[in-house]
Assembly symmetry: C2
Homo-oligomer: 256 residues x 2
Amino acid sequence: MSQSHPANRPSTMESLSCACSVCSMALNCLCKDLDAVLKTQLENEVLRNRVVNRGQALFEIGDTFQRLYAVRSGSVKVYSLIDNGEEQVMGFYLPGELLGLEAIDQGVHECSAVALETSSICEVKFKRLEQLCSVQPALQQRLHRLYAREIARDYAMLQLLGRKSAEQRLANFLLHLSRRFADRGYSAEEFNLSMSRHEIGNYLGLALETVSRLLARFQEQKLIEVKRRHVRLLKRQALAVVAGEPLNPVVRHHYH
Amino acid sequence: MSQSHPANRPSTMESLSCACSVCSMALNCLCKDLDAVLKTQLENEVLRNRVVNRGQALFEIGDTFQRLYAVRSGSVKVYSLIDNGEEQVMGFYLPGELLGLEAIDQGVHECSAVALETSSICEVKFKRLEQLCSVQPALQQRLHRLYAREIARDYAMLQLLGRKSAEQRLANFLLHLSRRFADRGYSAEEFNLSMSRHEIGNYLGLALETVSRLLARFQEQKLIEVKRRHVRLLKRQALAVVAGEPLNPVVRHHYH
DNA sequence: CGTACTATTGAGCGCTCTCAAAACCAGTGG
DNA sequence: CCACTGGTTTTGAGAGCGCTCAATAGTACG
């Protein structure tokens, strides 16, 4: 996901503000149309920018919960550890997506989050956010919807893991990625995977070999072109059929 | 789940209040320790009791979202429909558990909810709840934690579906049910399933025949006794091993 | 150019699904 | 009381998907 992005240009010094319209849709979702005073408050007191390199952690399992994190550019992997110490990938986060919600209940992070590539991250102090919510119902509602969206995401994932074949899971994964890129102004047809086959397989409940084989099969069938991390979708309709999606695609309103 | 319960006695007329301490833990979580005025407000303006019979719906897919629902007695199945029109069971809800959160994002229910047996349900007007949250930070925090708990639940489920064998899934399911019963003051060792093998299988991503076979196998191994819907856990330690749970329950590693 | 990592490809096997039949159970009506 | 019906559960047999193990190939980087 090395698509060029304003935040990657080292010269643009954006400090704490969230002016970049392409990224930080999650934050836009929080900030947009708020009255100017509150917006300034948010940007000055709550938000903080940070750049992390590939492999660096935003937070780790056991860290006390203090902040939510919005991806501004790059991508992030969130995973937990299961009994034997193995990773379980819970999700990949693209620009505009919010992570860290899983820690709110216990006050301790249940997952770790590491950057899959050099990424720009906007940190949100949760305590302050809650305080602002009290005086600003609009903000509160948006936060509720962010929770709800996470829950909806998980529900979709449960369906995927519970009922779908390896083929369907991977097709779904590609289409979902594609839509998220498109929503953010990147190409829907052509993109780079920032995660390995192993991580994809882990996320989808498949062996990495299965992921590799299926990508090869999709390519044979002329549904996609794939070379290492680079993917191009050739026939999204056909891919959607493979994914077992209804033909008239449900238009999901991902943001706002 | 036909355990006797105060709310099942037809004579006890409890009206709108949530005095019953055994059930409505979710609501207790909301109400408890709040100042008396607010508590009364909650109980009078927000909550409403209702009895539903087996097979009756609390809400259905497409209904506009207005309320959250807390199970007071009985049990509820929440499911969505997938492309071909088949059910996908998203969860079973026991007394004290809260459902309906999935609808907040879109304002429309993504799932249907039906009673698995005659059940007593407490309905919560969400709009009013949000209003009260604005003036009462403590309430707001509790609501946040309820969201977060739902997310945590989904995460656990994702691990189950993604990485675990049929055997592990079912053992987990039984233990999880058992713990929830115990938390509510019912027997942890002996209970009735209010859901069919088909529904269990659907929930766990297994064929109903597999569920049946595994229950039989657990019985052969003297881990449980099972006759139709009635289950008795004989060796929960051994069952926990089968489930792949860590023996010394969760020592958290604090890195750095 | 060598090392370490990632990805591809092949072979074989086992878990879980599907299909099918029979047993069991509850409710209904003769 | 029994036969009948519809639903649920059990049990069996066979097949296939996806896993594991293993070897090879490709890529990045010092």
